[in-house]
Amino acid sequence: METKEIEKKKEIKEKKPLEKVCIICAKGSLEDVYATLVMANGAVMEGIETNVFFTFFGLDGITKKSMNHLHTATTGNPAMRMPGGLPFPTMLGGLPGVETAVSSMMRKQMEALDMPPVDEFLEMITAGGGEIYACKLAIDMFKLEKEDLSDEVSDIITIGEFYEMCDGDRTQIIFT
């Protein structure tokens, strides 16, 4: 009787943990890139094999020139609030400099929570063994070169090659 119970307990405990995550980032706003980075870094910290694929505007998140100056949209973003919590008027969001100011404020708030700037975040991910890739098609489209990208980017690959890395039955693909 007792052994049976112990076995039952063991059965419940034996979960099938995630072994690999493949994250695709196709958008270049501050929150989209950070969502990708937080999930990727979180996976690496949990000992999960991690591959990240940046494509289209997501490339801004790994392009040296833009990665540490990402913006959050102040127009067309209904969740945007004023510091006091009041709704953020769309007209205000369209004024020159507002998006830059709001974005830099957001970056400061994230820094206070120990969220690193993008370049450092990428380093943290690769330090733990995570791999960062850029999409070949998007690189060609935006006329970028490997030198334009963060040194943490391992390679420029096609989506087909990325899918090849997503094998395994405990693998999840996440699209942000």
């Binding site: 910290m45 949990e46 000992g47 929570l113 969220m115 380093e123 943290m124």
Partner: protein, 103 residues
């Protein structure tokens, strides 16, 4: 919460196996928990563990970024010392609560 005997000492641990009271910790307990995870502790490990305990005692929330900037070890080194669980395993071995940070 349950009481567990680790390295001959009775300690309170959480469901995940983290020590509930960091003052019950000692080096032998650390060695045994590390053993269970599959890590053999060196002086370098203990430098990290002591740093984590100090910061926890001071009430600071820990992130791997903070540890990486501490001067004790860089992030790459931290992953080398505690593979597949730089903050989770190190916290468990250091006898401090499970980390609550996402970075």
């Amino acid at each position: 919460m349950e009481v567990k005997t680790i390295a001959g000492a009775q300690v309170n641990v959480s469901d995940d196996g983290y020590l509930e009271d960091m003052s019950q910790w000692n080096e032998d307990i650390a060695k045994e928990i590390a053993n269970e995870i599959g890590i053999e502790l060196t002086d370098q490990h203990f430098d990290v563990l002591n740093y984590l305990r100090e910061k926890t005692e001071a009430g600071e929330a820990l992130t791997i970024r903070k540890v990486g900037k501490s001067g004790v070890v860089d992030i790459k080194g931290l992953y080398k010392l505690f593979p597949k669980g730089p903050l989770k395993f190190s916290s468990k071995i250091a006898g401090i609560p499970k980390p609550t940070s996402c970075v």
